[in-house]
Amino acid sequence: MKVIESGIGKLIQPPDINAFREWNRNKPKSLMDKRMSEAEAVSRFIHDGDYIGTELYGTVRCPMSLVNEIVRQGKKDLRIAGQGVFELDMLLAAGLVKALDVTYIGLEVYGVSNCLRREVESGRVETVDWSNASIAWRFKAAAMGVPFIPVRSMLGTDTLKYSAAKVVECPFTGEPICLLPALILDVGLIHVHRADKYGNAQIAGISGFGAELARASKTLIISAEEIVDSDEIRLHPDRTIIPYYLVDAVVEAPFGSHPGEMCYRYVRDEEQIREWVKASETQEGAQAYLDKYVYSLRDHQEYLNFIGEQRLNQLREAVSE
C-alpha cells in the first residue's frame, strides 16, 4: 500500500496487537467476585505513566468517583485519551497528565477549559489531536484485534497532519483513505448504571463508545450506580454491553457521575459545575476546588455525605418522567 501522507504527531501509545492477545489470553475467565473500593481499584490497577481512558459524553456518565480517587492518590505522568469535560479537567488541574490524545476537552456551553489552556500553553502537557469518531474508531480497531482501521474522517486537514494517522492509497479503489492506529489502553474507566459482582455491566440510554473502550482496555475498572444480583443481569442479557471477562474491578458508586448526570437516574448539578467553571479560571481557584471536593474527603462516601442527601435527592427528583 502506498503511503501518501504520514501525520507528524507522536504515536503516544503504539499498538501491539499480539501482546494484547497474549494479555487477554491470560486474563481470568472464571466468574470471580471483583468488588472492591475505589481506593483499592486505583492503587492496584493504575500506575504512574499508564495510558488510561475514560468513557463518557460531556458530563454524562463520567467516572467521577474513580477520577477523584486518582487525584487523591496522585497517580502521575498519565497519558490519556481525551474526550472529556469535567473529569479530565480534574486530572489536568491536579497536574497529573503528561500527554493527551485529545479530541475535545472543554466545558461545552461554558466554553474553553482553562485547565487545558494552562497545561498546554505552558508546554507541560503534550497533545496529539484527533476527531471524536477517530478516537472511538481507534478503540474499535483495538476491540476488533487489528492494528488499524480505515476511515474517511480527518482527510485533508491539519487534524490529520498533526496526528499520528496515515493516508494511503486504498488497494481496492485507488482512492486516498485515512488509517487510524488501534489504541490499546493500559486501563479503561467506565461508569455504568448497573453491574453484578463479576463485572457484567449494563448501560441505560445511549452507549457512547463504552463497548469499544471496554474491549480496547487491558485492564478495566467499572464503577456502577448499583450492584445487582447476577440473576437480574441474566434476565436482560441483551442489555449487557460489557461482559465480565473484560473487567478487573467493580466499584459500587451511587452518584458516581456527580456533578455530571446519569440518564434516568439523576440530572447534573448545574450549581457545582458553575462553581468549577468559575474556580478553574485560575490555578489557585482550581486548587481550592480540589481541596474542597477531593483532597479533604477520604472517599466517595465522604464526598456524598459532604454534598448531602438533600441535594442528591433534588438531583434525583429532577429527572423527567
Binding site: Y57, G58, Y104, V109, E121, S131, S153, G156, T157
Partner: protein
C-alpha cells in the same frame, strides 16, 4: 415571567431580539422537514428544537453520542444528555452515528468554530502555532467528522475579522480545503461540503465553481458594506443580495416560551 417575554417594541415598531436569537431563528429556517441533521451543542440544538416546533416536525435530529430522532420538547444541555434521545427512535453510540454519516445518510451538519476562511475551512483547535499555541481551544470534537461526512454543512458564527480570516491557524474541519476539487483530491466523498454560513451579519453560501464564500443575504438592518468590512478575506457578493427577514413574533414566542423556557442560552 421575564421582562424579555414581552417582546418589547422598538421605536421603529420592529421586534427586539438579541444576536443569539437571530442566529437561532436563521439557522432553524435552514432545517427542512423530513431531513436528517447532525446537531451539536448550543445554538444548533435550539435551532433544531425551534424548527421542529415551526415548519419541520419530522426533522430527524442526530446527536453524535447515539441519539437518533429525538423529539426536542426539552432542551439538551449537552450532546450526550438525556434529552438528546428523549422519545427518540434509536439510542446507539458514536461509532454507529458517525458510520451512518460516513455511509451518506446525513443530509445536514451544523458546525461552529473560532475561525473560518473563504473556503469554509474551520478552526477549533489552536490560535497560533500548534506546538506553542497562543490559545489552546477544545479541539475537533465531532466537528471534523461532521464536516467530512455530512452532505451539506452549515457553520454558525459570530461575524468579525478575527473570525472570518484569510487563513485559519489550523484546519480542524474540512471545508473546500484549497478550492475546487480539493475535497475529492484528499479522498473525501464527492458532493459533500460547506453549504451555508449563518452569522449575525449575513447568510453566506459558496460559489458553485470557485467554492469561495459568497454573501447571499444580509441580516436585518445590516448593509453589504458592513459585512465586507467585518470579513478578513475577499467575500463574493451575489448578484442580488436579499435581506433575511427578522425573527417573527411567532418564532420568538416559541423560542422564549417553549424552546428555552429557563433562558439557559438566550
Amino acid at each position: 415571567m421575564n421582562e424579555r417575554d414581552l417582546s418589547p417594541q422598538s421605536a421603529a415598531g420592529a421586534l427586539e431580539y438579541n444576536p443569539s436569537e437571530l442566529l437561532i431563528c436563521s439557522a432553524a429556517r435552514l432545517m427542512p422537514d423530513h431531513t436528517t441533521a447532525f446537531i451539536g451543542t448550543g445554538i444548533p440544538m435550539l435551532a433544531a428544537s425551534l424548527a421542529q416546533k415551526m415548519h419541520a416536525p419530522n426533522l430527524v435530529v442526530i446527536f453524535e453520542f447515539g441519539g437518533t430522532g429525538a423529539i426536542l420538547d426539552k432542551l439538551p444541555l449537552a450532546v450526550g444528555g438525556e434529552n438528546t434521545f428523549h422519545r427518540a427512535v434509536a439510542a446507539s453510540g458514536i461509532c454507529d452515528i458517525v458510520e451512518t454519516a460516513q455511509r451518506g445518510f446525513v443530509e445536514y451538519g451544523f458546525l461552529g468554530g473560532a475561525q473560518i476562511d473563504a473556503y469554509g475551512n474551520l478552526n477549533s483547535t489552536v490560535i497560533g502555532n500548534y506546538f506553542h499555541p497562543k490559545v489552546r481551544l477544545p479541539g475537533s470534537g465531532g466537528g471534523n467528522d461532521v464536516g467530512s461526512h455530512c452532505w451539506n454543512t452549515i457553520a454558525i458564527m459570530r461575524h468579525d475579522k478575527r473570525r472570518f480570516v484569510d487563513k485559519v491557524d489550523f484546519i480542524t474541519t474540512p471545508g473546500y480545503l484549497d478550492g475546487p476539487g480539493g475535497r475529492e483530491r484528499v479522498g473525501l466523498s464527492p458532493g459533500t461540503g460547506p453549504y451555508r454560513v449563518v452569522s449575525n451579519l449575513g447568510i453566506m453560501g459558496f460559489h458553485s465553481e470557485s467554492k469561495r464564500m459568497m454573501l447571499l443575504e444580509t441580516q436585518p438592518g445590516i448593509t453589504v458594506e458592513q459585512v465586507i468590512d467585518n470579513t478578513g478575506f475577499e467575500l463574493l457578493i451575489a448578484d442580488e443580495v436579499k435581506e433575511n427577514p427578522p425573527p417573527t413574533s411567532e418564532e420568538l414566542r416559541i423560542l422564549r416560551q417553549e424552546v428555552d423556557r429557563d433562558r439557559l442560552y438566550i
